[in-house]
């Protein structure tokens, strides 16, 4: 079993662990999700049809509207939400949303493209206060 540590910018939210779901696509809670079912619903999204519930999500960047700032809070209140979201670069909306929802979120990874560094299925621990993401891989 291998352990890899990635350092990133200090983020927001609590320390969490979970299974990674990774794409080099981008993210908007408004555009991409069926928030009732907890799946990616926009047909063109690379994760279309997959569940994001309790996952450590990894995206390239954030897209689009301001609604995501309320939506992360709303999704978390129903327990149908990711545990954490990691980006190469996030926009203010998602960071604001994570701050309200108290959801773990980090970006700006020192070692390069986080969508390549983490693989779907990896066991990942996110420590936003320390700016540290730990990957455990068989």
């Amino acid at each position: 079993m291998a352990t890899i540590e990635l350092s990133c910018h200090v983020g927001v939210g609590p320390e969490v662990s979970g299974e990674a779901l990774v794409t080099d696509d981008n993210f908007s809670a408004r555009y991409d999700l069926d928030r009732i079912e907890g799946i990616f619903s926009r047909p063109q999204h690379k994760l279309a049809g997959q569940s994001y519930v309790d996952k450590i999500m990894v995206f390239n960047t954030a897209k689009g509207g301001v609604a995501s700032a309320w939506m992360l809070h709303e999704m978390k209140s129903r327990g149908i939400a990711p545990k954490a979201i990691l980006f190469n670069n996030v926009n203010p909306i998602l960071a604001q949303g994570a701050a309200l929802a108290n959801m773990a979120m980090c970006d700006r990874f020192a070692d390069g493209d986080v969508t390549q560094l983490i693989r779907t299925g990896d066991r990942v621990t996110v420590n936003p206060a320390a700016g540290l993401v730990t990957i455990t891989r068989d």
């Binding site: 910018h9 200090v10 983020g11 927001v12 981008n26 408004r30 555009y31 991409d32 999700l33 069926d34 619903s41 926009r42 047909p43 063109q44 999204h45 960047t61 954030a62 897209k63 689009g64 509207g65 301001v66 609604a67 995501s68 700032a69 309320w70 939506m71 809070h73 709303e74 978390k76 209140s77 129903r78 670069n89 996030v90 926009n91 203010p92 909306i93 960071a95 604001q96 949303g97 701050a99 309200l100």
Partner: protein, 414 residues
Amino acid sequence: MKLNAEEQAMLAGELGEPRRWAIEHMMRVGRFFDAPDFVEVTQAHIMADTESLGEAGVEFLEQMAALPEGERRVRIPMITDPRGIDFCHYKRLRQTDAMAALEQRAIDAFESFGIMMTNTCINYQTIMPPVRGEHLAFGDTGVVIYCNSVLGAYSNFEGGPSALAAGLTGRTPRYGLHLDRNRRATKRYRVNCQPQYLSDWGALGGIVGARAGSYWEVPVIEGIESPPGSDEMKHMGAAMASFGSVPLFHLVGVTPEAPTLESVCDPDALAAETIGEADFEQFFARYGGKGEKVDVVVFSAPQLSLLEMQSLAELLDGNKLHQDTDLLAVTSPVVAADARRMGLVERIEASGALVLEGMCFYQSYAREMGEANGWKRLMTNSVKLTNIIGGYGYEPTLSNMENCVASAIAGEIV
């Protein structure tokens, strides 16, 4: 972050719980983006639709609204983005009483903060356009990109919670677009064909937004031969922000920070990418559907200006919509009142179309409306709407307003 004495008092709770929450929330965001301190803002604008707020968001507002009035009143003029319900028409749209009830609860909470329910994403055309250099906390990406780019104001995208925090404190963390160093062009595009219709301007915004692709990129566009009007800028900006999360663009010779290319970048260090006829054709080609039945034609996102309402009335005059096609025209309460007074609403609705006010199509439980009304194939001239609505189960088709109206009359995409 460096706090002044007043901000420290807010953090200590001396000015009440809402302002304590607000300053703490903004400090989390400020630390995330390395803000050194706060900057005072003159206006705030908040996303207010209950589809994004949800029950949880409304409860959050209600808890704060129950606190003493002196603690919860906003400190600067604060207005709202479109809501999800037009109370005069929600039953016809087959939205539910539960949706309307949640919306009313949100309105009651917002009003208790002293927020003015303008319900608009075209406040820069209708309420109080910012001036160059004014620092703002605006929600709605289309509003922010317009005010930054066309008016030279300073705002980040402020989601609902952060806009509320800015309203309660009169400030926002100083990061992103509040700093001049982040307003220089990082991507350069040269357009070698001239957009004609609003949908073409939207397409240009979509193309640039998709290529630039990040909040932290600032596109500068060369090659536009004559300055576009406010509606053209509105559609272009809204699409750019939607496709790329881009909050600022420069149009050389047009927008205030870019009288010349050299004023926003070093032209020798930033090569230009070309955008030509083929790029526009490719952009429109992704939206098929010619000859297919069209279920609903929507003019929304952004809300229609008075000039767009007039254009729509002229196109619909003397015509009736196809019996199996609906047409919705969505505008702001201010424009709706003027349009009604001038007879434009009556002319539009004589065709069987419906004018909605204070809402926006995609913020109004679009999935549930689509299922309840049997709307699948949606036609619009809004590039922004085509980008969003696929996630709600629609098949969007993009064309100019003329073709959209002709299709609504024919019942199929012309």
